[in-house]
């Protein structure tokens, strides 16, 4: 039994490695094919993906709602800015420091959060999101943190081996995308294993999980730490891409947008995190292009992007109640069911996994490496009663 499990686990790792390499190759071709502005947008998708994926683990798999992830990003961004500004470390070390320091912040928040549920937890993390960026304006810290002006970073210089005319924006996109792919790769491995399984178990039924030996509080702290580290890395990448860490980049709306992104993308699915990040970057851009070309009076035109953004959120949520990833999976599943009626009827989690169109980064409540067929989880995969939104509300 053990050897079978081991084999499976190892194959998961190979699968994820192959997926990550394929994604890197695709991103390489994409970033070299497009212009500098598109590269910047790709970089934005990259750092948002880190933060959204981290939140997916905490909220989608752990069932813990955090309205404070914007503040975790702020911690990462300021850490990166301070480390570059004062010590001038190499970029990889800077980003590692951003993730590390934010992870420590995650321990503190997680220790509080582990004792709270639902609205109480939302309230506590909300206070974190509102209060923390305000620290920059706290008089004794303004010299260190630059107040409302924030801290300016030197843009990362592309290595000379890439040639003298290598565009800065492409280099930023590479850094950001590499961060996102590594984050997704690590999270995919983590959530497929024991950690993800126990996390889902404690989300679905805390008491049952505790009875079967899961130490729920410790697990939740761990989830918060992992999630915070991802957000911190995202924040550090944001600082490197925007060459700026300022409180204006981390308003409460950022935290809310991250929550919106995991819901739109598909709660609990890492592939959904990518969709969510894409929407976060592209919908406001399209909306503002739309409003600036509409010839409306500037009072209306300048507020229109928000309205359009809200509208898109409503439409997506109505059309795909389980998020874009859930919707795609549903469509893919329907197509496949029609093609292989028999095969689809075959029992067992491997069968259900094959209906998945999302690639290796997707996580199921049952987990593809689960040894036994879990009826509840399988029903969930098909979008029948007991889906994740409902579980969260319990």
């Amino acid at each position: 039994m053990d050897t079978v499990l081991n084999l499976l686990r190892r194959s998961t790792l190979t699968r994820h490695t192959a997926g990550a390499l394929a994604a890197l190759a695709a991103l390489y071709f994409l970033t070299t094919a497009v212009g500098p502005y598109r590269d910047l947008q790709i970089a934005q998708v990259g750092y948002l993906t880190c933060a959204v994926a981290g939140l997916t683990v905490l909220t989608g798999l752990g069932g813990q709602i955090s309205l404070g992830h914007g503040a975790f990003m702020a911690v990462g961004a300021y850490t990166a800015a301070l480390v570059i500004g004062h010590w001038g470390w190499p970029l990889a070390a800077v980003l590692a420091a951003a993730a590390g320091v934010t992870a420590v912040a995650g321990v503190l928040v997680g220790a509080v959060a582990a004792r709270l549920h639902g609205p109480y937890l939302a309230g506590a993390t909300l206070a974190f999101a509102v209060g923390l960026p305000g620290l920059a304006n706290y008089a004794p810290l303004t010299d260190l943190l630059g107040g409302q002006n924030g801290l300016t970073l030197l843009p990362p210089v592309p290595p000379e081996s890439l040639g003298a005319t290598f565009p800065l924006e492409r280099w930023q996109a590479w850094i950001s995308c590499l961060g996102a792919v590594i984050t997704l790769f690590l999270l995919a491995n983590l959530t497929r294993g024991r950690f993800g399984r126990t996390l889902r178990a404690s989300r679905d039924d805390e008491i049952a999980a505790a009875l079967s030996g899961v130490r729920v509080a410790r697990l939740r702290i761990a989830a918060t730490v992992v999630s915070a580290a991802c957000a911190g890395l995202g924040g550090g990448l944001l600082a490197v891409v925007a060459t700026l860490a300022a409180p204006g980049a981390f308003p409460l709306t950022l935290s809310l947008q991250l929550i919106a992104a995991i819901i739109i993308g598909g709660l609990g699915s890492l592939a959904g995190a990518v969709w969510g990040a894409l929407i976060l970057v592209y919908v406001p851009t399209w909306a503002s292009d739309l409003s600036s070309s509409s010839g409306l009076s500037h009072n209306i035109a300048s507020n229109l992007p928000l309205a359009v953004y809200g509208l898109v959120l409503i439409v997506v949520t109505l059309a795909f109640p389980r998020g874009l990833q859930g919707g795609l999976r549903g469509i893919g599943g329907a197509v496949r069911r029609r093609a292989h009626v028999r095969r689809d009827r075959a029992p067992g989690p491997r069968g259900s996994a094959s209906t998945d169109t999302s690639g290796p980064t997707t996580t199921h409540p049952g987990g593809a490496d689960e040894a036994t067929a879990d009826q509840g989880a399988r029903r969930d995969d098909r979008g029948e009663p007991g889906d994740r939104g409902e579980r969260l509300r319990r």
């Binding site: 699968r15 997926g19 497009v34 212009g35 502005y37 934005q44 700026l244 600036s292 094959s354």
Partner: protein, 436 residues
């Protein structure tokens, strides 16, 4: 199984790529012309402006006024046959957004120049970027001394009088008029306010300054600062603040029944904007307040035509354009500002010649001797990229700032303050600067 998943991943990546790539259409070439943003019939320029957010009250009218002036010039044939396309985008006075919208203007919209980007904390985050990209960065809408660094930032030019010069002129006035009185400062805690304080401190004796309070734009709670200044019992309060915070401080002083003499920097003292802000803030707080009586007698300074001065040829010209293009906006100092700076840009574009290039534009400006709506001359030369060199002290009376005494010029160092005697030039009859 493995293969299936890899294939699935490839499909998903391809889909994301398709999303990212759609809309790449805007990245086309520059139409065969020598300079980005310049075609045979158009010149496209861009700007970041606070159309929403804390600085929007008042300042959101600037860009509309500039646009109206460009529309007027375009309707009269444009500059060398080219129409000016003015793209201004909202950055909400948030530096992070300034960075992203400016990158968009430069990389995607491929503007010829950035014109009148508004705000010290915001624009200072894109100055290095614009200079690295060699984009002319003309007439920053901020009097920070940081735009006047031709060696470090050869592409960047200021326009309005800088805050150090303004602080010196206001400080000198306070020293002479209120000798021996207690003075308090209320300033924005960034380059804007700090530069102003630098200028003030050159003239006001240190011992006279009993309180120095600052605010951060974004947080609208300034109760503690107002309390501290009121408790210091200062006779004169100098405000280096944007209009929103001038109004907030004025209301806080009213609440505390504190009645000092107010001296307000030019950017935070437009009477019509302040009246509107005072009334709307009071209303939000549940009180009925008449705004206008609260600002009467405030001392400030100016360097352009006064909006209420009907005999001034510039005011007449701008009123005419205002009535034709943007009649719904109130005619105030922001409108005069936006049209005046647009006027200077038209002059600069004319000076750049028949086939403008980015380099030619910057060189032409360094050689220029423009005269226009200002009461004092510009400082533009190879050695200086600062804008107007001084201002005239004035007092708010009714809806106007009424000048008192002569325009004064000075430098941003320790140079003396000197009266400037040449009269303000007349506006051209057709409203378009004479070519050359």
């Amino acid at each position: 199984m493995k293969r299936l998943r890899t294939r699935a991943l490839a499909v998903m990546t391809a889909a994301s790529l398709a999303i990212a790539a759609s809309g790449c259409g805007g990245d086309g070439g520059d139409g065969g012309s020598a300079a980005p943003g310049v075609t045979a019939t158009t010149v496209t320029i861009g700007s970041h402006q606070p159309l929403t957010g804390p600085a929007a009250p008042g300042y959101s009218a600037n860009s509309a006024a500039s646009k109206a002036f460009f529309d007027y010039v375009n309707a009269n044939g444009g500059v060398n046959g080219r129409k000016i396309v003015y793209k201004y985008v909202d950055d909400a006075y948030n530096p992070t957004q300034t960075v992203s919208v400016t990158q968009k203007l430069v990389l995607q919209d491929k503007v010829f120049a950035i014109f009148n980007g508004l705000g010290t904390p915001t624009h200072s985050k894109v100055v290095d970027y614009l200079n690295a990209q060699r984009v002319p960065d003309l007439f920053v809408a901020s009097g920070c001394g940081c735009w006047d660094e031709p060696r470090k930032h050869p592409q960047t030019f200021g326009w309005q009088v800088d805050y150090i010069r303004e602080g010196k002129i206001l400080g000198d006035h306070i020293k002479k008029t209120f000798a021996g009185k207690k003075v308090a400062y209320f300033f924005q805690n960034d380059d804007f306010g700090q530069d102003g304080v630098k200028g003030l401190d050159k003239y006001i004796p240190k011992a006279d300054v009993v309180s120095r309070q600052s605010y951060q734009p974004g947080s609208t709670d300034i109760g503690a600062q107002a309390q501290a200044i009121a408790q210091s019992k200062a006779d004169v309060v100098v405000l280096f603040s944007i209009p929103t915070y001038t109004a907030l401080f004025r209301l806080a002083a009213l609440k505390l029944n504190y009645k000092p003499t107010f001296v307000v920097s030019n950017v935070g003292s437009d009477p019509i904007t302040l009246t509107g802000l005072l009334e709307s803030f009071a209303k939000k707080g549940g009180a009925e307040v008449k705004g206008s009586p609260l600002i009467q007698g405030m001392i400030t300074d100016g360097y352009l035509a006064a909006p209420g001065d009907a005999s001034n040829s510039w005011t007449q010209l701008f009123k005419k354009i205002h009535a034709q293009y943007i009649p719904k906006l109130p005619f105030n100092g922001n409108i005069v500002y936006g049209m005046s700076v647009a006027y200077t840009f038209v002059q600069a574009l004319q000076a750049a010649g028949k086939d403008p290039t980015r380099k030619g534009l910057v060189e032409a400006l360094e050689k220029s001797h423009f005269t226009g709506p200002g009461v004092v001359p510009f400082a533009y030369s190879k050695e200086s990229h600062a804008g107007y060199t001084g201002a005239v002290i004035g007092k708010i009376q009714g809806e106007n700032v009424v000048p008192e005494g002569q325009p004064l010029t000075t430098d941003d160092g320790d140079g003396p303050i000197q009266p400037y005697t040449a009269p303000q030039p007349q506006a051209p009859a057709n409203g378009i600067p004479a070519a050359g």
